[in-house]
Amino acid sequence: MKAAPAWRGRTATARIAIVLWLAFILACGIIISRSQFTTDLSAFLPRSPTPAQQLLLEQIRDGLASRLILVGIEGADASTRAMLSKQIAQRLRADPAFVTVNNGEPVSAERDRAFLFNNRYLLSPAVTPARFSVDGLNAALSDSIDLLASPAGLLVKSLLPRDPTGEMVQLLDQQNSGTRPQKIDGAWASRDGARALMLMQTRASGSDTDAQQRAMAAIRQAFDAAPGATPAARLVMTGPGVFSVTSRDTIKSQVSRLSIIGIVIIAAFLLLVYRSFTALALGFLPVISGALAGIAAVSLGFGMVHGITLGFGTALIGEAVDYSIYLFLQSEQGGSDQQHWIKRFWPTVRLGVLTSIFGFASLLLSGFPGLAQLGLYSIAGLMAAATVTRFVLPHLLPANFRIHDGSAVGLALSHLVQRAAALRWAAAILLLAACAILALHRASLWNDKISSLSPVSHADVALDSSLRADMGAPDVRYLVVVSGASRESVLRSSEQISTILQTQIDQGELAGFESPSRYLPSTATQRARQASLPPPAVLETRLAQAVQGLPVRAQLFTPFLADVAAARSQPLLQAADLEQTSMAMAVAALLIQQDQHWSALLPLTAPNGAGINASRIRAALSATDLPDVVFVDMKAESDQLYSGYLDEAILLSLGGLVAITGLLLLVLRSPMRVVRIIAPLAAAVITVTAGLAVFGQQLIILHLVGLLLVVAVGSNYALFFDRADHRLLPGEGATAEPKPSDHAISPRTLASMLIASLTTVAGFGLLSFSNVSILQALGVTVAPGVILALIYSAIFARQPNA
């Protein structure tokens, strides 16, 4: 890149630069056209997770909960809602996109019962050798007879001859542990009866946003096309997949709207300043190059681009356009003065770009892919924009390139700046106040809940919790996870854990739990149960003894003898045997295979109105000596994960600050000058943070990125003020001639800085109006921060006569 000194007259160099640039843009375009864009929360989850985090991620992306869509039908009257629910369900049950469509209609109930009944001796945990001893049979029989005489007798009477030990009742009991909504006219309804409810499970995982969108469209279509459709009825949907679809839509529409408005505002503003369409168009070239380079770099580096990165990119337009503003405004009037700018100002701008890069480089180290994406985007974008401004843009300027002379504004500014020092005391007081505010708010400054990042609106969250409460849907917050090398091993561990969890239920610590081993016991357990069943002759003798003293005759149980004989040699249950039953869905969700690795999930239900005492459950589990068993509180885990990132990001940002300081020290070789440059930036950061605290905004990770941007952008201003004091940077040589305005920053430079900061404020200020919290956080930090950085730089700049 030594072309600069000799570029004039070397049109070949110019051509090479332009061709290289065009090739670069083309390459970026190709990369981008092949890029994948996402909007899910995955960008905010770790890149190299621990096993527990890995599980969390899998659950969030593909877990059972991620596949659920909760549907509510509101409006109209109860019977219309129930009818619509049935019509929608009927249509969607035929749709392969849905694994299950549940609205309370007993669709698979028959199959479920048949499966349970036919396999009761393999499935029932009560099947032990003791149960089939004379005493065991006697106890089981008298219990069944009691049940027969009880109010529930009506239900079990027909089962008695085949199942006198009551295994079916055992199994049904397990099935009924969950709470289900009430039914109105044969379809689920909310407790207040105002809403019909449906619960659907999609085949696609919750992170497959396109598939989720298609599923949502199918539901809506089924609703609209239902024969009973009426304008009085409304359809509402929620669920993780629905959230990803709506947030994608929100982010998409916001990003496109904000970028259009941003470009229009900045363009209008620059047109006002330049009074030249050519300048405007040329000024946007570095911006476009930067944006393309940023997206392409992220796509190459991460394999996919997050929507938030794009949203951030729109704001960065306001920053990237600065370089061309500096070039146009700081150049002396006249066609060929750009090379003079390159000599005089480029080193300063280059140092500004470098400080920005150093600041953002720290983000690259973040374990948080979302943050690292922003870092990479900024670095690539700013480098490309600055490089294009420096090496390509001057070649593209027409010979008669002219822009409106803004020196009048500059002169006015320069008067202001000369008086800015008078504000030092006021600024110092403001700064002290800001420090005091920060000290006061230090405990509540940061929001370490991961939900603070969610782009989902409060209304949607409220609908979600209301539908969930109506449905009694599992929130899958507490899980026991067992890992192992085979299906069999995790099922066996699940069985042991189930025993422990059952004691916790008996002690009232838990309301219930689920386990895949309930529907698919391990082979070992199935064998053991089979082995508990005595041979027919033995059983017959024992039964004859067992009925003594009971008001039944042994002959009644001939079907029982036959069933037990069959069960002794029946093939063991395989996963495939569950197909077509509602239990298949449970097993698929609770038993996960990844390569050679199996996990079983046992979701726990907290007792009504109480939480789960995590340490108690952990203690009970650790008593088993089972390896690879973890109790996970998903919410605590994810919050902890996020607050870990927040801490990491704070450290990294501080690291970035240290790197910037080091860079400045290295280049400027004067600690005093470095302090003068850093001081206004630090002041701006402190003031903005205090301002956010005053307005009750808790800081999230994106505020931090915003602060980093304030430092990055503000460093340009501070450097220009510093440059005015020290005309020549080391290594710049003595080529620049002293100017009349030697003693102060030139009006032209001042004007360029003001305009540059205004475009930045326009770009980021727009984000403050976004209803996506993370974009809004960036906006409210950067827009005031940049202005403050400029003002503080002016106030703290060394006075010519000082």
Binding site: L147, L148, A149, S150, K157, P161, K183, D506, V552, R553
Partner: protein
């Protein structure tokens, strides 16, 4: 002394007393005369809660001898009914709106009535009778009333085919507005007879 006034007064009083007596007696008499389902239902609906002792005998073909149990009944209008069996084994059955909870020893079964329509129809027959909810009863069964206010029997024959497959007939008999017995005949010939003795009337 005003002797002449006395007879007049006394006559007037007598007449008034008679009229009053007649007036109060009229409903009672008409009760006896036109004792019908409406009367019974209206009377039953007046009773908002009850507490009674019961003895129940179940005749089940599969079992060699009838099973006898006894305990207490609690009723709170309109839809809470608890049957607390004390002998031979303590257990309880509570129906509250749409939920049926059966507690036997440590086990607790919670059933949604809507999932067991036969059971629901059967329970609703009894609840409906206690609540005097004629409409609810007529939805599920064909009703007929025999006897007098002093000794009546209400017979319910299920309308629904599914229900008919389980229960053939429910006969509830009582004295005035107190239910004294419930007899259930099942489709398979099994039957049960519950005798009820009122404990308190709050």
């Amino acid at each position: 002394m005003t002797p002449p006034a006395f007879p007049v007064f006394s006559l007037r009083v007598m007449r008034r007393v008679l009229v009053a007596l007649a007036l109060t007696l009229v409903p009672a008499i008409s009760h006896a005369a036109e004792w019908d389902i409406d009367q019974l239902m209206r009377g039953l609906a007046q009773i908002h809660s009850g507490h009674a002792r019961f003895v129940e005998k179940k005749f089940i073909a599969m079992l060699d001898r009838p099973v006898e149990s006894s305990g207490e009944l609690f009723y709170t209008a309109p839809d809470r009914l608890e049957k607390r069996t004390i002998k031979p084994k303590p257990e309880s059955m509570t129906v509250d709106a749409g939920t049926l909870v059966i507690e036997r020893g440590r086990q607790k079964h919670r059933l949604q009535l809507q999932d067991y329509p036969e059971l629901a129809a059967f329970i609703d027959s009894i609840r409906g009778t206690l609540a005097g909810d004629r409409k609810a009863l007529e939805r599920n069964s064909q009703m007929s009333l025999e006897g007098t206010a002093g000794r009546w029997t209400l017979q319910l024959l299920p309308l629904d085919e599914k229900m008919q497959a389980v229960v053939t007939r429910i006969r509830i008999s009582g004295v005035r507005y107190a239910v004294r017995s419930i007899e259930i005949t099942q489709a398979d010939g099994d039957s049960s007879l519950m005798l009820i003795e009122k404990l308190t009337t709050p």
